[in-house]
Amino acid sequence: MNPSVGATGLIFNEPLLWEKGARGRCGFSLPRRDVAAAPLNESLQGEGPDFPDLSELEVTRHFTRLSQWNFGVESGMYPLGSCTMKYNPKTNDRQAALPGMAGIHPLLPIELSQGALQLIYDLERYLAEITGMDAVSVQPAAGSQGELAGMLIFSAYHQSLGRPRTKVLIPDTAHGTNPASAALCGFKAVPVKSNEQGVLSPEVVADLMDEDTAGIMITNPNTLGIFEENIRQVAEIVHARGGLVYGDGANMNAIMGIVNLKAIGVDVMHLNLHKTFSTPHGGGGPGSGPVCVVEKLAPFLPVPRVVKKDETYRLVEDMPQSIGKLHAFYGNFGIQVRAYSYILSLGALLKKVSQFAVLSANYIKARLKGVYHLAYDQPCMHECVFSDKLLEPYKISTLDVAKRLMEMGFHPPTIYFPLVVHGAIMIEPTESESKEDLDHFIDAMIRIAEEAREHPDKLHAAPTVTKVRRLDETGAARNPCLSGR
């Protein structure tokens, strides 16, 4: 057996920022004072915030040590289902950091920001081409704001026809953001049960779809990693009753160059540039959630729109049916630059990205089948969902498997999601991992299943080699301590 990737090493303790430093230090090169102090009414002046005073090295060492307690994609395999933790190419960051990109003021006269406007314009065209949709706005700042844009478009569209609707259908395999986004727009979320194959049945949708339902939100491939094969029939049913189909594009990494989203009946969708298009996840964000629509819904897109006229890129505000603005400016431009760089680096090879992502997931599924319980034994797309059912006799849960994986040098998969699978273990390897790394991961999972039978205590105790061991989350919630003293 290969030695485990995970190993022990020296880890530093590091206090909180305000437990360090001494009053009077400063880690910042204060600019020269070349003007006189101007008076300001005392009643407006405060004490100034109680920030610690630290030297530059103290700050640098502090955050270097903190970073060493973290696990990122560049530390090791990060098969977090539904999150597409692929490699984040360094060249993308170089481009976003160019002074002519990072330094642009958003409200410059357009003739002074033609490069940025061209980038947005071209990125929107490329995303339209990749999805098959007609028009795109990159303004939403993250996937869930893209969903909000989509739901606002649902609402505005029905309003424009003079018959507002009150409900939205949401399958039980949906991301939690879907019902929350629908609710923000005043829609009531109506759950739709998926069938025994883990996909939507047209009959079930037909029963629920009525003239008061604005449409349906579908993730395809769904959160079980299965392609919704009845999607076209479902879309026809929804369209026949005047509804719209929303596609959650969180799982686009499975189908680039393979599926045409417009052809399957999607009217509005969002993408996650921080998933499919390789931009870094940053410990929780920033993301970017472009919203893509078919022609008839283009008038509802957020403003301003970037258009090209006489070889000049312009910002157009005059769109009376637009849902309005979602972001003070144009969304997370720095993330858009990275995604644009990624698309230009790969071009039509993006299809290979999806093929390899799907191959890797199926490879893991084939090799772990029987070792772990496979919730739905269907061909999977870019992710596969197992459960802890076979480990129950040994009182080992999904959580234990996840914690033990850390010690072996892997970030755990997504656990306990999707909710339709009890004790779910949702694995998304992405195309970035080599066969050797996939094999290491699979070997680790097999070894854990063996340990579950032979040394269950080892799993219950895991992780033991991390900076901290299992944490008291109940205590954290009962007596919240959300800021330091």
Binding site: Y416, E473, T474, A477, R478
Partner: protein
């Protein structure tokens, strides 16, 4: 999780399908959740309760119980007006886990009518229902 045999179900109170219990005390009634319910919910970290004076119908949600990763609604066993809530739960939500029929009570209420109580279950019927879920 507890085995069925470990679940405590007092005889002198009534139960609902949603796992609340109700104990009549003079004109008023005290409401909480059953030992089975607290065990299923796991460690309770917060109870969101209505204010005294609020009124709800039978079966209407009157609050929520939160564990670390789940939220469950709690429903009125009978229609009535809330006369008091268990203020101690703010500092000690764990008592819902440790003493669900005592210190872990949720609300006191004044029932609108006595008929509602006829729809509640006794210990035996409730136990049968819980058995069916396992």
């Amino acid at each position: 999780m507890k085995e069925l045999s470990q679940i405590v179900l007092p005889k002198d109170i009534s139960y609902t399908q949603n796992h609340e219990w109700l104990r009549q005390e003079g004109d008023e009634a005290v409401v909480g959740v059953s030992d089975y319910a607290q065990d299923q919910l796991g460690e309770i970290v917060f109870a969101e309760l209505p204010a005294a004076g609020d009124a709800f119908g039978q079966g209407q949600a009157f609050g929520t119980l939160e564990s670390v990763k789940a939220v469950s609604e709690i429903y009125m066993p009978v229609a009535g007006e809330i006369t008091a809530i268990n203020e101690d739960l703010r500092n000690d939500p764990a008592s819902i886990n440790t003493d669900p029929y005592g210190k872990g009570w949720l609300i006191r209420l004044k029932p609108d009518n006595s008929d509602d109580q006829k729809k509640l279950m006794g210990r035996a019927a409730y136990l049968e229902m819980v058995k069916g879920k396992q």
